[in-house]
């Protein structure tokens, strides 16, 4: 991280000294660039301060936690906080639950929205207009506290207190936005490939699964990332659906339960926060390249 603080190194020196006027013209943007980096690093550090403080605090002892105040740096690195959070505070169990829920929600949302987005964009059917109107209208209707009818419904279906119930409710929550994004993206893909596949005798299914879906990589990454962020972090739905089953809690729910049960072990809580953060940050870093491109693709359409 510290390597970033060093400002732009000149990429390559010209072999022969450049003529003076040309040099002068280049120098000014470079100074501006240095200033830009300084401003970005300073504001970035301030922006990240709560994270740095949490990271530091997760390695502090309890005395030091209170003694050092706003200084994020620990005097020694107490890695055992992580082991304790993982084992004693059940963050390990919560982690596995959260991981399963996130994977399930992502797979479900991606399949459902990619298929619906594809037929809306590329394989029109009678009633498409009504379908589109219906999904647009739900964006404007107040969702309010619809968790109560959903809870009743799951209870009647006998699905309560299972990870599956959390997955299906969360997947349903993201289908409209995801379908719109996929629809926008599929509309921009050139129809030549699809036509060529049809000429070669590819079926409807082959066209979708073998050609269109693999082509939609950036959008899979974008919708996948949106879904993963909201599934990994969601608090309310897992809270309501795991009230009777503490062993099915997710990280967010477990963290609040931990405060209620142990109001003094703040350093373990900080370690738990870092455990919660690292996977989703890693996912963002991996997918961010596709993410902006995918969004740009959907906007164009």
């Amino acid at each position: 991280m510290s390597s970033v603080a060093t400002t732009v190194p000149p990429l390559s020196r010209p072999a022969a000294p450049a003529p003076l006027p040309a040099r002068r013209r280049r120098r000014r943007p470079r100074a501006a660039m240095v200033m830009t980096h300084v401003a970005l690093v300073v504001s970035g550090l301030a922006w990240m301060y709560p994270f740095l403080w949490t990271l530091g605090s997760s390695l502090k002892g309890t005395d030091e936690f209170f003694g050092r105040g706003l200084n994020p740096l620990p005097s020694q690195l107490l890695w055992s906080n992580y082991q304790q959070a993982w084992e004693q505070a059940s963050f390990g169990t919560y982690f596995i639950n959260t991981l399963l829920i996130t994977i399930g929600t992502c797979v479900g949302t991606l399949l459902v929205t990619a298929m619906a987005g594809y037929v809306l964009a590329r394989a029109p059917f009678p009633g498409r207009g009504i379908f589109l109107f219906l999904i647009s209208a739900t964006l404007f209707l107040p969702h309010g506290y619809t968790i109560i009818p959903i809870f009743d419904l799951m209870e009647k279906l006998g699905l309560l207190n299972s990870l599956f119930s959390i997955i299906i409710v969360q997947a349903a929550g993201g289908v409209v936005f995801g379908t719109f994004l996929f629809m926008g993206y599929f509309q921009t893909i050139d129809s030549e490939l699809e036509d060529a596949a049809k000429v070669d005798g590819a079926s409807f299914h082959q066209t979708f699964w073998r050609i269109m879906l693999p082509l939609s990589g950036p959008m899979l990454a974008t919708v996948g990332l949106f879904t993963a962020i909201s599934a990994w972090n969601s608090y309310f739905i897992p809270l309501v659906f795991t009230l009777a089953r503490p062993e099915q809690r997710t990280l967010s729910v477990g963290m609040y339960a931990f405060i209620g049960e142990n109001s003094t072990q703040w350093t373990l809580l900080c370690a738990g926060s870092i455990i919660t953060l690292v996977p989703i940050i890693a996912l963002f870093v991996m997918l961010q390249r596709f993410f902006v491109n995918g969004l740009a693709g959907a906007i164009k359409g």
Binding site: G44, M115, H205, S234, I281
Partner: protein
């Protein structure tokens, strides 16, 4: 064309796989979004604590009670204040940052993008814990600094003081969701063809002229979507308030969604849950928002027409 003469049933049969592909999405939508909305519309007519089946029919009385409740109007005021500050400040900062990070020559742009996106991927639960620890346990440090600078004399309980709590929530709100707007703007900027800028440069246009005559008009349609998304998100602000102050102290930070939540699940103190009242408040708020968005569309249309007339 032949296709047009085909019967509806025939066309539907031809498109049978399209229906099959759209079906899972439609099923989820009907079961988990449309049905619950319809069901909670029914609840608005009952006095019901959410246990068993609703039986105590009260007609439109719940709506009257919401309109008569000063806490509801207070919550509405706080929500509008939140939206009125968060949306413009956040969009301004996000656009500025996106313009800086979109420069081709800027190195480490993706690293900076990650830094400013970090709060978005962080759960409200983690932010709530960390910010509370920072303010309530170490508010002393900030208090001492302020006292040494002679800004204040006395102890301030940041999140527990009605004068500061809402301000802190607004600042954290800007910090938390700025990243989304940043990547939306970055995506929008990427859709502007590079040759437009090249051409402008050849014509001797400066940076400001390129921004004014290329970036702004090209970003307009994307920009409207970004503004709409930011508005929708801010009007539904909930979890940050819930984890930071739970609407307190003394309802000083109660926003509409926390108000509804407290009605539905029983709030602070000995208030009994009242799902009917909560549903009524939620619908009343929804109607207000729909009315607002209609006004907004009308205003945008007339502005566009005036521009076209010029």
């Amino acid at each position: 064309m032949n296709v047009r003469r085909e019967s509806l049933a025939g066309r539907m049969w031809t498109a049978r796989w399209s229906y099959a592909y759209a079906l899972p999405m439609l099923a989820l939508l009907l079961v988990f979004i449309v049905y619950p909305i319809a069901a909670s519309l029914g609840y608005t007519l009952y006095k019901w604590n959410g246990i068993g089946d609703p039986t105590d029919f009260v007609g439109l009385d719940n709506f009257r009670r919401v309109i008569d409740d000063s806490i509801f109007w207070g919550a509405l005021k706080h929500t509008f204040l939140y939206v009125a500050i968060v949306v413009p400040v956040q969009l301004f900062l996000a656009l500025g940052l996106a313009l800086v990070l979109n420069q081709k020559k800027l190195k480490f742009a993706s690293f900076y993008r990650t830094v400013f996106f970090l709060p978005v991927v962080t759960s409200a639960a983690v932010i709530g814990v960390v910010i509370q620890l920072l303010f309530s346990n170490f508010g002393d440090v900030i208090n001492n600094i302020l006292r040494d600078l002679h800004v204040t004399h006395g102890y301030i309980d940041w999140l527990g003081d009605p004068r500061f709590a809402m301000g802190i929530i607004i600042v954290i709100g800007i910090w938390h969701t700025l990243g989304y707007n940043l990547v939306y703007f970055l995506a929008g900027l990427q859709t502007i063809p590079e040759d437009l800028y090249e051409a402008a440069k050849l014509d001797g246009a400066g940076r400001f002229a390129s921004f004014r005559y290329i970036t702004v008009p090209m970003l307009r349609s994307v920009g409207i979507v970004i503004v709409l998304l930011a508005l929708v998100g801010s009007f539904q602000v909930f979890d940050m308030v819930q984890v930071l102050t739970n609407g307190g102290p003394y309802f000083a930070t109660e926003v509409v969604n926390t108000y509804i939540y407290h009605l539905a699940f029983g709030g602070t103190g000995d208030v009994d849950p009242d799902v009917g009242l909560a549903s009524a408040a939620s619908f009343f708020y929804g109607i207000l928002l729909i009315a607002l968005s209609v006004v907004q569309v009308v205003v945008l249309r007339s502005l566009a027409r005036r521009r076209a007339a010029k």
